[in-house]
């Protein structure tokens, strides 16, 4: 792996939501940098992992406020560029795959039309070229019959198929950087493997940077190169994926130990004692 200038740099990222009942700090002082590699962000619900991903893409929902000492993508300051430019970047050079294809695909447009639209929104290209590119991409996500999938409506596709189509759509513009937020949680375990393998291959072939957000520590550590463990909006620990067994932080350890294992696990399972000091 060539260690050049990092693709994405995040320093002291904060996301706050000002609500009537007070301010909720969803992300508090998160820093990391990403090269052309696979970074996993693991945490339980409310850990701020998804809000971190959204903040990077400028997708924090309205009452939210994002601040950072530094948030750059390939040297471009994402916090200060005009919204229009950010929109072009997003979906073009950086993009996101979400949990459930049912909610992230437009139900009244065929998969193919959505792909063409996505492509042409970012490239000056004719319909024909866009169509060819889309079919190519559907083939790349191992659709058996790309032409048929192309003309399907999202509800006509199965879960795994929909998610693969989603990945194809997101990658059709040849992005440099992809955020995958729980991309396989809505899928069956056997389909999950297949989708991950496709994602893995595409990321490797194209030399993309990937942030993989998930609650599943085992999955993330087996898929990614590095893992950030988040809790209460803060990063508890950053680890190389192979070094998970050497995790120092009690939260990471607790998270690993509380999972039942096929080979046999303690009865009762060790539970996680949360230390308020972690979020101080």
């Amino acid at each position: 792996m060539s260690e050049q200038k990092p693709l994405l740099e995040v320093e002291n990222l904060n996301v706050r939501f000002h609500l009537r009942t007070g301010t909720v700090e969803a992300v508090r002082g998160v820093s990391f940098s990403l090269g052309r590699e696979r970074l996993g962000i693991v945490g339980e619900s409310g850990s701020g992992k998804s809000q971190t991903g959204r903040a990077i893409l400028g997708l924090t929902p309205p009452p939210g406020e994002v601040t950072a000492d530094r948030l750059t993508f390939d040297g471009i300051d994402l916090l200060s560029i005009p919204r229009r430019q950010l929109r072009n970047l997003r979906g073009g050079r950086m993009t996101m795959v979400m949990q459930d294809p049912k909610y992230s695909l437009n139900p009244v447009m065929t998969i193919g039309d959505q792909m063409i639209e996505a492509y042409r929104a970012h490239r000056r290209a004719g319909r024909k070229e866009a169509r060819e590119k889309s079919l190519e991409m559907l083939e790349a996500v191992q659709m058996r019959d790309p032409a048929r999938v192309f003309s399907l409506y999202p509800h006509e596709a199965s879960g795994g198929m929909g998610q693969r189509a989603m990945i194809a759509m997101m990658l059709v513009t040849d992005p440099d950087f992809l955020i995958a937020d729980e991309p396989t949680s809505a899928l069956d375990v056997t389909v999950q493997q297949e989708v991950l393998r496709i994602l893995d291959r595409l990321v490797a072939e194209r030399g993309m940077g990937l942030i993989f957000i998930s609650h599943d520590l085992r999955l993330v550590s087996s898929f990614c190169d590095r893992v950030l463990v988040m809790y209460g909006g803060k990063v508890m620990e950053e680890l190389a994926a192979g070094d998970l067994d050497a995790a120092r932080h009690p939260y990471t350890r607790g998270l690993m130990n509380c999972l039942p294992a096929l080979e046999g696990s303690a009865h009762p399972l060790p539970t996680l004692e949360r230390d308020p000091a972690w979020t101080q």
């Binding site: 339980e44 619900s45 879960g159 069956d188 375990v189 056997t190 389909v191 999950q192 493997q193 991950l196 393998r197 893995d200 609650h215 599943d216 520590l217 085992r218 999955l219 993330v220 550590s221 087996s222 898929f223 607790g254 998270l255 509380c258 999972l259 039942p260 294992a261 096929l262 080979e263 046999g264 696990s265 009865h267 009762p268 399972l269 060790p270 539970t271 996680l272």
Partner: protein, 255 residues
Amino acid sequence: MIDIRDLSVVFGSGRLRVEAVKGLSMRIAEGESFGLVGESGSGKSTVLRAICGLAPVSAGTIAVAGKPVPVPRNRAFFATVQMVFQDPYGSLHPRQTVDQILSEPLAIHRLSDRDRRIARALADVGLGSSFRFRYPHQLSGGQRQRVAIARALILDPRVILLDEPTSALDASVQAEILNLLERLRAERRLTYILVSHDLAVVTHLCDRLLVMRNGETVEETDTEHLRAGKAETAYTRALMKATEGFTRAAPASTE
């Protein structure tokens, strides 16, 4: 305790006909914890729903405690068999307090001494009395699932059907709920049928299990066998592989 023979469940008719369960048989002894494993659409949840009358039995027989289940299910049946649902956000009435939710089964079965029973049920699932008058939206996912378990326990049933009881919960909360279920079974000699897509969860709680796919039995096996690597079918092996996370090298095809 539970004896199911050649159970078939069919929804709809004509072109919309769906055979959710096709000729499934299983026997579960009293005090046993039995696992049903499968992916979505495998019919595993439908089996539970057929047992308690939420899904139609098209063919075959179901017997609980040696007697065929009554049609429609009567109160005595529900005092024996109870169920815990997957989604703790959907299984509690959004406008009822924990107290109202737990009072309802007592009122239906005309049981006296409600205050004491509710307090005991809450204590059994590890919730203090301070939770009694809260609404579901004031509880976390794990706390809601505890309330759902308390509701199932309050009639003192002998069988509890668990439909993916932890799949909507965080890993650390899942461990707490699994421990709770295990403790309750030991204390009350309960019989469990646990439905899950996660083999690790099933083998943690159950000794025997049945793998389902497309409404049919793939294989019936036990935890010992699986741990010894003696799964008979490729499908079961693929499910086992998936519990370890992602594997870069492609395993044998599952199709």
